[in-house]
Symmetry: C2
Subunit: 186 residues, 2 copies
């Protein structure tokens, strides 16, 4: 990857990227609360939930960045979100939002939850020990840049197993509700 790139301040899209990851509903079936709603949708379609455009500089001391395009939509009454992850090592991440509206849901391993509004221009510091999930509560794609140390590492398993402590659902608008984790009972 070359050292110079361009970002379009109107759209948030990068001119170049190393790879794009596409996540469809079937990739997130274990993450949404309402499993019946997931399966009902999957009968007829498998919508794209988000795409991540990665620029990776993979050497000691390197920083990397990505642009995420998170679609608008809901599964049951839960808004589309990114899987969310902890970093494997202590490492912060800086977000800059270019388009759309959402909520950045963050939580540490003790369950302490902090949320931040995402809107054009918002610049958010995700603290090192906090898992982070972006939630699109708007009606248009939510597009944001994230910058992080290349060696931060991604731990998705903890979230897959436990979920976040809160869900963000549509109850006459975006509402934070406690995750009772009933969907995780075997």
């Amino acid at each position: 990857m070359e050292n110079i790139n361009e970002i379009d301040f109107s759209s948030g899209f990068l001119k170049e990227y190393k790879k794009v990851q596409e996540r469809r509903l079937s990739d997130l079936r274990e993450y949404f609360y309402d499993k019946k709603a997931v399966e009902n949708i999957l009968v007829n379609q498998n919508p794209i939930i988000y795409r991540v455009y990665d620029v990776i500089y993979d050497y000691p001391g390197g920083l990397s960045y990505s642009v995420t395009e998170l679609m608008p939509g809901k599964v049951g009454n839960e808004y589309y979100f990114t899987k969310g992850h902890f970093h494997s090592k202590s490492a912060a991440e800086i977000y800059i939002v270019f388009k759309g509206n959402g909520i950045l849901l963050t939580e540490n391993r003790s369950g302490d939850t902090k949320t931040y509004n995402m809107y054009r221009g918002s610049t958010i510091n995700v603290e090192p020990e906090y898992a982070h999930r972006s939630v699109n509560t708007g009606t248009t794609p939510l597009i944001f840049l994230a910058i992080y140390p290349t060696d931060a590492g991604h731990d998705y398993e903890s979230i897959k197993e436990r979920g976040f402590s809160y869900l963000i659902v549509d109850k006459n608008g975006p509402t934070l509700i406690k995750n009772d984790r009933k969907n995780l009972e075997k």
Copy 2:
């Protein structure tokens, strides 16, 4: 410092910052090549060369960021620049340019030089071992965001003592010329 902030995509300015550093010509008198030109200007005035607006998250694994406002102007035929520094530890830095035009001059300790054009939207990866100096070759302020690991550390001394291997001067427009370092002879 709160975790949420805002950046104005038109101007590049931050809504909040922890501190602002102002650098005037007198602070950079040892950095410009043409010492006589420096002293001639300082007889009558001490212009602001740049301001840095810092947002610092000072804990292990933290990232920090700053917006720099580098004024247009010249000392002799050398364009205004930031002092430039190496990081004390191996740590990259990501630049995003919001306004103006310039050149990002980078150089490692072996003298390998890489330059990048700075213009609205340009997104530049400064490799970990490269000193970096921004040079305003335009006629308006050059405004850019830089994101870096908080513990990167700043080594200004090497640059103060040796300068960069190249100067960026106005010779019918911005031109890179070898620094003969005659100004550094005692």
